[in-house]
């Protein structure tokens, strides 16, 4: 946790609908935050590595990671994060539609902090 009260959250999600939902849901929480969005794995890694347009990006305090994404999918991103010296300590919470035991196992096996299945219900 940062010393400021505002925490930076990086949301890696390809579906804009889900992005909005997540944004909405977070706003109902009690935490002051800043939400950054990367729409796929490549973007996420650029962001984290502060490459290109993300050169001024803040290192997030929390990463919310979707699994089903084009090009680089969530698992690969997770693996890369966990092997990156500077990034490995960032908590990563998987947020995905997949219910599959295999996916859950793979994520935990690659040191995800927690695994959430996107609920159908807004509440």
């Amino acid at each position: 946790m940062n010393k400021d009260n505002c925490i930076n959250i990086l949301l890696v999600e390809d579906s804009p609908g889900d992005v909005e939902l997540t944004r909405e849901a977070l706003s109902h929480g009690n935490i002051i935050h800043q939400l950054d969005v990367a729409c796929d794995g490549e973007e996420a890694l650029s962001f984290l590595n502060k490459q290109g347009k993300y050169c001024n990006a803040q290192t997030p305090d929390l990463i919310l990671l979707d699994l089903n994404m084009p090009r680089k999918d969530g698992l690969e991103v997770l693996k890369e994060i966990r092997t990156h010296q500077k990034l490995k300590s960032i908590p990563v919470i998987i947020l995905t539609t997949s219910n599959s035991e295999l996916d859950i196992f793979k994520c935990y096996d690659n040191y995800a902090n927690a695994y959430f299945v996107k609920p159908v219900d807004l509440n």
Binding site: S15, G17, D18, E20, L21, E24, T97, N99, K118, P119, V120, D121, L122, N123
Partner: protein, 580 residues
């Protein structure tokens, strides 16, 4: 080797023969006795005759002697003295002989003694007279004779002899009578026993004859069957050659009798089976047991037939009978092949079905799973809209949004239920021993809120068993049924749900009864169909899958589910779970 004579005559016949034997013996004995008697008799008769003759001789001798004496006295011729002397000796001899002959008859001896003394007296007299003649001359002697003294003696002698003769004659008569009687008796006996024996022989003959007729008939019968039989029957000697065969051999195998008698039996056996058969037959003879064997025999036309044999050794030979089982064997093979084929087809079909099933399951799963994603969008944003803009747009907008939200949530429920339903088989846990009391505890815990809100009373009447089940699914089962009972309650009455269980052979039957709105009989079957509902959605929410899920779960556990209900009064749901 001496063959033991088998005694096969039956008891009756034997008794008959023994009887005849006895009778013959009896006859023999009788005859023997009688014959001996007759011989005895004859001896005695002879003796009597001898005695009589001798007695007569004595008298005639005496008479002779007298004549001699008288002649001499008259003529003085010494030739007349010859007989006189001779007879004296002879008479004595004869009397001695008589004495000997009747030595065992004391009375007779007495009489003989008397006779003896009398004849001696007579001779004395005659001597006296002779002496008188010598001394006194002829006239004195004649005068002495004329006194008749000598005559008196002679008369006495005569009388005695006559008496004795009479006695003897009487005895003779008696003896003769006896002999005759005895003979006729013997004859009778012989006749009777002869007739009896004849009778018995006739009876025996008749009996033997009828017996023989019976036996002949039986033999004929057997022979007829032997000849008629469709099965092969034979007698085989220890040398392996057929001793007797029935026509079936020719019919089945095609060889003529000549051919069959020409070789030992094993020459007709299919080569592969020959060794086994011969060994088995030898064992049978050695151990004196029955033999059952199946083997192949070569037919005249070169083909072979399967025969099922039954054989038994008797004395020097073996009796055997066989049945042509070629058809059966072929049938069995055919059936076996057919079965194999069927098995394969069934296997194939099962695999196909399995595959099809799996595909369907997968399809159901994927469909409901992939539907979740767009559904999520719709549902969530509808809800967001509702939140953000409720009251801010016009009434119609509110209404529309309501309908949309409602629709989305129903879709969610349906998809979830479909997923659940499809998971009943795929996500089933392995069956384990589970305590139904615990399961009910969990269920009531899960339905805590609903129970409280509806003020439902749940009574668990019986202690629940522990059975081998998928506890998650049983939990679901109970939960659905109890939830229904709560949902379809009568307003204004405290809903009471009674749960009971009853043990039956091989299964447990559970009862969940409520005092709710009940179900009409015509819908009893429909309610178990997936998504079938009987009530309107507003009053009684739900997708209509609860009971379909219940049915599937119950059936997965080898049981059945049914109900009894009365509209307005309540319903009772029953389901059975196998206990083994």
């Amino acid at each position: 080797m001496l063959r033991k004579l088998h005694f096969e005559i039956d008891n009756k016949t034997f008794a008959g023969f023994v009887f005849v034997l006895v009778v013959l013996f009896v006859i023999q004995w009788f005859t023997l006795r009688t014959t001996t008697g007759l011989i005895e008799n004859t001896k005695l008769v002879n003796q009597t005759y001898t005695i009589i003759t001798k007695l007569e001789s004595v008298f005639s001798m005496l008479k002779d002697a007298e004549s001699g004496q008288r002649g001499y006295i008259i003529t003085n011729d010494s030739n007349y003295m010859g007989p006189y002397n001779k007879q004296r000796i002879e008479v004595q001899t004869k009397i001695n002989e008589l004495k000997e002959l009747t030595i065992d008859n004391p009375e007779y001896q007495k009489k003989l003694a008397t006779l003896d003394s009398l004849q001696k007296v007579k001779y004395e007299n005659m001597e006296e007279t002779l002496t008188l003649q010598q001394e006194a001359g002829q006239v004195a002697a004649i005068k002495s004779i004329m006194t008749g003294e000598e005559n008196k003696i002679m008369i006495k002698i005569r009388y005695l002899i006559d008496k004795m003769k009479e006695d003897e004659n009487r005895i003779l008569d008696q003896r003769t009578r006896e002999a005759n009687d005895s003979s006729s008796r013997t004859l009778m006996v012989i006749l009777i026993t002869g007739l009896l024996a004849l009778l018995i022989i006739i009876v025996s003959l008749y009996y033997i004859n009828s017996d023989t007729i019976k036996r002949k008939k039986a033999e004929e019968e057997l022979n007829r069957f032997f000849t008629l039989s469709l099965d092969m029957m034979c007698i085989i000697g220890n040398d392996g050659y057929f001793k007797r065969i029935n026509p079936a051999f020719e019919d089945v195998l095609g060889y003529s009798n000549k051919e069959l008698f020409s070789k030992p039996y094993y020459e007709f056996i299919y080569p592969d089976d020959k060794e086994n058969t011969v060994e088995a037959v030898n064992n049978m003879v050695k151990d004196s047991t029955k033999l059952n064997i199946e083997n192949r025999w070569l037919c005249k036309d070169g083909s072979f037939k399967w025969l099922a044999w039954k054989s038994v050794p008797v004395g020097d030979v073996r009796y055997a009978s066989a049945r042509d089982i070629t058809e059966q064997k072929l049938s069995a093979e055919r059936i076996g092949k057919m079965n194999e084929e069927l098995e394969m087809r069934v296997k194939k079909r099962t695999e196909q079905l399995k595959k099809s099933n799996e595909e369907l399951q997968q399809f159901a799963y994927i469909a409901s799973h992939d539907l979740q994603e767009p559904l999520r969008m719709v549902a969530s944003y509808m809800q967001l809209l509702e939140k953000k803009y409720k009251g801010k747009l016009d009434e119609k907008a509110d209404q529309y949004i309501n309908f949309a939200v409602d629709g989305a949530s129903r879709m969610k429920a349906l998809i979830n239920d479909l997923l659940d339903f499809s998971r009943l088989d795929t996500k089933a846990k392995p069956m384990q021993f589970s305590d139904f009391n615990e399961i009910l505890d969990d269920v009531t815990h899960n339905l805590k809120v609903a129970i409280k809100e509806s003020k439902t009373q749940i009574e668990i009447i019986d202690k629940m068993p522990s059975l081998i089940v998928d506890s998650t699914q049983i939990s679901q089962l109970f939960q659905n049924l109890i939830n229904n009972a709560i949902k379809f309650r009568n307003q204004n009455i405290t809903p009471i749900i009674k749960i009971s269980a009853e043990e039956q052979p091989n299964q447990w039957v559970f009862k969940i009864s409520d005092n709710g709105i009940g179900i009409e009989k015509e819908y009893y079957d429909r309610i178990f169909i997936i998504f079938q509902r009987l009530n309107n959605r507003v009053e009684y929410p739900g997708t209509g899958i609860g009971l379909a899920i219940c049915k599937k779960i119950v059936e997965r556990h080898g049981g059945q589910i049914w109900l009894e209900s009365e509209v307005g009064k309540g319903s009772t749901f029953f389901f059975s779970i196998k206990s083994k």
